[in-house]
């Protein structure tokens, strides 16, 4: 398998052999050739195909690879319009799985057991004349006919990643919106590495962020959620890069002083001694937790100050005894947000940046057919169990479909009260839900503890997967304020699949009865899964994790968009004093901007629409921008 930490664009230093490619390919690229190659006739691909300077052969092959995977990214990742299929250049049969020669522009049939369009092998014949490698545009796999195997060279993997990201950036028109929405999407730049420093290959870390947690009397709910937060890649990046330093935070709880009367700050500047209690700061607690998880101490860690901080911030969770892990999760996010500096409309606290998304609610009246739309901010998706279990069992996807399915609204007898026509008895409204903004981390709660008359826990297993495609549940329309250009094609059909793909990284499971049970978490660190049951942390497998009767699921978006760097936006005004980015009207293009996509800058959507409502009646409650959907 390819090494995850690729070298990027730098050539390999001559003394180190790149083991991610075979000798044959290494020879073709003319790097550190260990295989004596027989001189060949110059190809019609150019006089310097074999005998030219190393860099030109190499760059030709790399360019070819890039072109092939870009084509693959455009036709596979972006929903295809009706196109003609590529045909084999030898036998003209249509190729559903084309393979492209790496050294020239040939495309042909290649037989690879079951994974091929046909049983023919025109590529093999082609290799007798030109080259010995072919590339699969769909995956970037390189096939070496001399090894008779696929290889995944690091340098090509890096080209693949960058090319696919660029394809996504160009196609990502979902990032365009009104000029008030923020900085827009900026281009991905591969990490150039530190000059002279060794590559990431050399860095071997024993530190994986794994640590057992002490159960401080019925605190397994905290252990499980904390584990899921520690292994959340975005939170990890935030806290490990010291974005919140508890030694400098003005809200910092002084350890166990939390809850005690406020005695003022040590230097007297923080305010008078008064009746306030030391409130504590959840960000400081997380900072402390990350530090504890990533040091050498692997003895069980007791998150005492976090617990105290939680109690004093959130009255309903106070006291010893079992709490609902989901309530704790939302309370923790609330407390992280509490000390954020953002305003309501675009909070930049790490809780919102990580978890905030939005839901679109469409309500149509059966009498007058007006549809009202409401956009509600959410921090997670809470899924109900259906009244009747389908025979083939419950799946996460099935529950999501039910979540989005049209539902009749309207009181029996009284009917639906429509804002436009009044409604009345007999009138019903149909409500549909869809996701509008997908958060970077998507959390699900499977509502096993319905607070209804029976008040029993739902024990039914729900099948979920390590990958999740959210496209079917996302609003296919363009952003609310944008006008389409009247094409008959739905513009969102051309959005690449990667914008909707998520990967599972944490699962919280509950066992036992409503008020007397136990929580644990299964978390992913890289490709390894770990079972975290309070102070017992053991390796586990994906299949074991998928077999859990999950209560909460955490998925992370596979591809993240980067905002336009501020200096790009400010380059218009040069080195002059910093000004806020000018609001551009649609359609004008300002020189000096260079965005990957061909849109005017500033149009898009890094802003988190919290609480915005686009006309219509708001159903299903929210109001509180942090608590999420309270249906």
């Amino acid at each position: 398998m390819a090494d995850v930490f690729a070298n990027g664009d730098r050539p390999n230093p001559p003394h180190r052999v790149d083991t991610s490619m075979c000798d044959h390919l290494r020879g073709s690229l003319d790097l550190d050739a260990t295989v004596k190659r027989e001189p060949r006739e110059p190809e019609d691909g150019g006089p310097d195909a074999q005998t030219g300077a190393p860099s030109s052969t190499r760059s030709k092959l790399e360019k070819r690879f890039g072109d092939v995977v870009r084509w693959g990214g455009v036709s596979e990742g972006v929903k295809r319009r009706k196109t003609t299929s590529p045909a084999c250049q030898s036998c003209e049969s249509p190729l559903t799985r084309p393979w492209a020669c790496l050294t020239c522009s040939y495309v042909g049939c290649m037989h690879l057991g079951a994974a091929s369009s046909s049983s023919k092998n025109c590529m093999q014949v082609h290799w007798q004349q030109s080259g010995e490698n072919s590339v699969d545009p769909a995956t970037g796999a390189v096939f070496c006919s001399l090894c008779n195997d696929t290889i995944y060279p690091d340098t090509f993997e890096a080209i693949l990643r960058e090319t696919r990201t660029r394809v996504e950036e160009t196609a990502d028109i979902s990032r365009e919106g009104s000029s008030l929405r923020g900085r827009g999407r900026g281009p991905f730049r591969p990490w150039p590495g530190n000059d002279g420093a060794s590559s990431l290959d050399d860095v071997s870390s024993t530190c994986r962020g794994l640590r057992p947690l002490l159960n401080l009397s019925q605190t397994c709910f905290l252990s499980a959620i904390l584990q899921s937060l520690i292994h959340n890649p975005l939170l990890k990046a935030y806290f490990l890069s010291e974005k919140h330093n508890r030694h400098l935070c003005s809200h910092a709880a002084r350890g166990l002083a939390v809850g005690k009367p406020y005695l003022g700050t040590p230097d007297g500047s923080g305010g008078a001694v008064g009746p306030d209690r030391e409130k504590g700061c959840m960000c400081c607690e997380l900072d402390r937790a990350f530090e504890e998880f990533y040091n050498d101490d692997k003895s069980p860690f007791g998150p005492v100050t976090m617990l105290y901080s939680m109690w004093h911030a959130s009255a309903e969770l106070e006291g010893y005894g079992q709490q609902d892990a989901h309530s704790f999760f939302l309370a923790a996010l609330d407390q992280i947000h509490a000390h954020a500096r953002g305003q309501m409309s675009s909070c930049n606290c790490i809780a919102h940046q990580t978890f905030a998304g939005s839901l679109l609610s469409l309500v149509s009246c059966s009498k007058c057919s007006t549809t009202s739309t409401t956009i509600d901010p959410i921090l997670d998706v809470q899924l109900d169990f259906p009244a009747e279990t389908p025979t083939e069992g419950l799946t996460l996807a099935g529950m999501l479909r039910r979540f989005c399915a049209p539902e009749k609204v309207g009181e029996v007898g009284k009917g639906y009260e429509c804002d436009s026509c009044g409604g009345g008895s007999g009138v019903v409204a149909t409500r549909k839900l869809m996701l509008r903004k997908l958060p970077p981390v998507l959390s699900f709660q499977l509502k096993r503890f319905a607070h209804n008359a029976t008040s029993t826990k739902v024990e039914l297993p729900v099948r979920f997967t390590s990958k999740l495609d959210m496209r079917p549940y996302v609003d296919p329309g363009t952003t609310a304020n944008e006008t389409t250009d009247g094409t008959d094609e739905n513009p969102s059909d051309t959005l690449p699949d990667s914008l909707f793909s998520y990967d599972l990284f944490a699962v919280v499971t509950h066992e036992g009865k409503l008020d007397n049970g136990h929580y644990w978490a299964d978390v992913r660190s890289g490709d390894e899964w770990w079972h975290c049951d309070d102070d017992k942390v053991t390796p586990t497998t994906l299949s074991a994790v998928l077999a859990q009767k999950a209560y909460m699921l955490f998925y992370i978006k596979r591809s993240l968009a980067y905002t336009q760097p501020m200096k790009k936006l400010l380059s218009v005004v040069g080195a002059a004093p910093v000004q806020p980015p000018p609001a551009l009207s649609n359609g004008t293009s300002t020189p000096g901007y260079s965005t990957a996509s061909n849109s005017t800058a500033n149009e898009a959507k890094k802003g988190l629409p919290v609480g915005s409502s686009v006309g219509g009646k708001s159903l299903g409650g929210k109001g509180h921008p942090i608590r999420g959907m309270e249906v």
């Binding site: 299929s85 079951a114 696929t150 099948r463 390590s466």
Partner: protein, 101 residues
Amino acid sequence: MAHSQADKPDQAVLDEIRKRLIETGDWDRLSTLLRSRLEESGWDDDLKDYAKERARAQENLNLESLLKEVTPKAHEMLQPKLREAVVQEIEAVLEREVEKA
């Protein structure tokens, strides 16, 4: 259906059908349908697990040999109901697009 079960599909005919389905966009639609049904049923995860296990066990790991081992298992793991549903879709498309001989 007009053809008998014993007929071996003619490669040229298959090619024509494939070409047509690609043109109408049905190939893509069916592929996507199959892929998402497979993923939702857990087939993807189970197969990946199995393939990893087999790959670790192989002496000389090679794509072809791995495919040979894994392919029958992949067919076996396919739920009959899923297969039926997708086959029905395919038949509907063929009904629409293909003239019976």
